[in-house]
Symmetry: C2
Subunit: 380 residues, 2 copies
């Protein structure tokens, strides 16, 4: 792991701390598929200036660092938050609902790296197929920060966007320094290399941004879309996110279906968002009751459904269909999932249009067992 | 603290462990009001067979141990839980909504001990006024396990029961061993010494207990009451509790008013109860929507109200009116509250019917600050 200290330019005492603390984890499955990468580690938590999820790789051509994607913080009320945090023009970008994927060149190949810093075989295969490598030949020091969305997503499957799996670029950054390009530069490069972009819905003066944003978020919510990210057009300030009630409730619907596998903080934070949004929108009695009913149903419907399924002898699972271009990637993905600590069952492989199609079923063991226990007479 | 080891009959290694671990805390404010008690400690957590909240006291007349009240576990579905856990006849006792108070004799005086094992000056004053000391003269080894309920409760103020503050006995136990008396013996003693009892609503065969219980809980809920505790009539088995939807939602209403001062597990557990209850009751569409709306409103109404109050410049507090018989007790109670780590403001003292009446206002600092921060533009 000595190359990690070298790659991060650590002083000897810092290198020692890195070794002592349990913050490095292997991020790579060794296999010819991964080409020139010899070894790769990821940061399990923030270390100095390096974000959690930072990837450090040793390739045949030298050392590489791909910085972790920084956490985007959230406004609970849009006013005065947006006005206080930005100045001049602010872009309202759609926050799409998928999983965070950084796409970068390591050595001579493209890699797809998930939020936590794993090199994911599925994401890598798709990135190699969908992203024009010319971008990286011309800009080897940049990474594409994308939302990977679609129905065939192993992590956040959604039919909302009408695609199987696509990458939507929301930031282009220097992979080594994490410096983001301005929105204009990002747009220019995406256009030049035909990359999908998370839509920029509007660019407005900060003074009126919160008013416009409410309209935009309301409309997005009605279409089942997630929300927006406010960005300084020059990307000199920290972006801020804000989500629709439908998205908050959608998250709750998901979390309460798997209520014992999910963090309580996850649920709590989404509930609190609804309170602040309702307050800021100064809702009338009817709107407020609608929100309360929507919240209550997002919580109880999935939970009762899960209890009913277990009572009928079923297991609680999340089922997705994935398409692989090679059996090799599928095999590597199975290994990857196992390493991530996900308990999953893969179905029979079907060949279709030159792809290997397989169901990927995550077993929600904790929720299943918890419900089963209570239904048999177990006490809380 | 040597007397503690002696009182608990600890072996020398166990006594040593007791000293090493941080599980003893002073439970007494030294003052003539507390009469014969020289020193008292409480267990901060379970230690061997001794429950959390166990009180160990040194009095002029010898050592005393008052066992902590055991945690009563909860059924999430009544069938098959009740049938599986009991046999023969089971009593359905009303679970009242107040705070747990053990009343016991230490030396020659009566003391009121709260759940966590503190000798509470307010509870002690009330116990001395309301409980006939003849009970303890005849039965010095017994303790009265009571729900302290009413409007003038410093911890759980409720108008539901139409009383200022009263003690309702739900268990009579040997204070040293925690052995409970049978329900019949408890009833006999309560009658003999004119003690209020938590109502026994029914005594039924275990086979039909769940059916009867649903009717009973439904009715209790409609009256704003909490729920029931199932008890083996001989008290040979662990009691089990079950609560009404209105009580679960009432708890949520309270917790979300003070959402940043309250534990997330507290909220989560109450939400999960609603899911299991809805499932077991096989609710129709209309009933289910009503439950969802009730749940949603219990969460959002108090939260939005708190946000609105902070936006208007108010602080989030819980205000209760308490009556003290002596200025001494009031002074001691202030000290007690401070030791418990509760931030509170006491109002001006009014003399009324020979009592000292004062408002006791708990400051919910964390919730107030959290809301204030977000309303000023702070991020999550």
């Amino acid at each position: 792991m000595k190359f990690v200290a070298e790659a991060l330019n650590l002083t000897p005492p810092a290198a020692e701390r890195l070794g002592e603390r349990n913050i490095l984890k292997n991020a790579l499955i060794k296999h010819p598929f991964f080409g020139d990468v010899i070894e790769a580690y990821k940061l399990e938590k923030k270390f100095g200036e390096y974000e959690e999820g930072t990837l450090i790789a040793k390739t045949k051509h030298g050392l590489e660092v791909v910085r972790g994607y920084p956490k985007i913080r959230r406004a609970l009320t849009l006013y005065p938050t947006i006005k206080r945090r930005f100045s001049g023009e602010v872009a309202l970008e759609e926050k799409m609902n998928g999983y965070n994927a950084r796409i970068a060149l390591l050595g001579e190949n493209i890699y797809g790296i998930t939020r936590r810093g794993y090199i994911c075989p599925y994401t890598t295969e798709k990135a190699r197929e969908l992203i024009d490598i010319a971008f990286f030949h011309d800009h080897p020091d940049l990474m594409l920060c994308c939302e990977a969305v679609g129905e065939e997503s192993p992590f956040v499957p959604k039919a909302t966007y009408g695609v199987k799996l696509e990458f939507y670029v929301f930031d282009i950054r220097e992979k080594r320094s994490n410096r983001p390009l301005s929105i204009r530069e990002k747009e220019r490069l995406c256009q030049e290399y035909s990359l999908n972009m998370a839509p920029i819905l509007d660019v407005v003066e900060v003074e009126i941004a919160h008013e416009i944003a409410f309209e935009v978020v309301k409309k997005l919510g009605e279409e089942g879309r997630e929300g927006i990210v406010f960005k300084d057009v020059e990307m000199k300030k920290e972006p801020i996110k804000y989500t629709s009630s439908q998205s908050n409730c959608g998250d709750l619907r998901y979390a309460f279906r798997y209520f014992n596998d999910y963090g309580r903080d996850f649920m709590f934070s989404r509930i609190v968002r609804e309170g602040f949004q309702s307050f800021e929108l100064k809702e009338n009695e009817r709107e407020f009751r609608e929100r309360c009913l929507r919240l209550g149903m997002s919580i109880l419907q999935p939970m009762v459904e899960s209890i009913r399924e277990v009572a009928e002898g079923k297991k609680i699972t999340e089922k997705t269909r994935l398409s692989f271009s090679s059996m090799e990637t599928l095999k590597l993905f199975k290994e990857h999932v196992r390493r991530m600590g996900i308990e999953a069952v893969f179905g029979d492989i079907e060949e279709k249009d030159g792809k290997y199609v397989v169901t990927f079923e995550r077993m929600m063991v904790s929720t299943t067992d918890k419900i089963k226990g209570h239904l048999k007479g177990g006490l809380w």
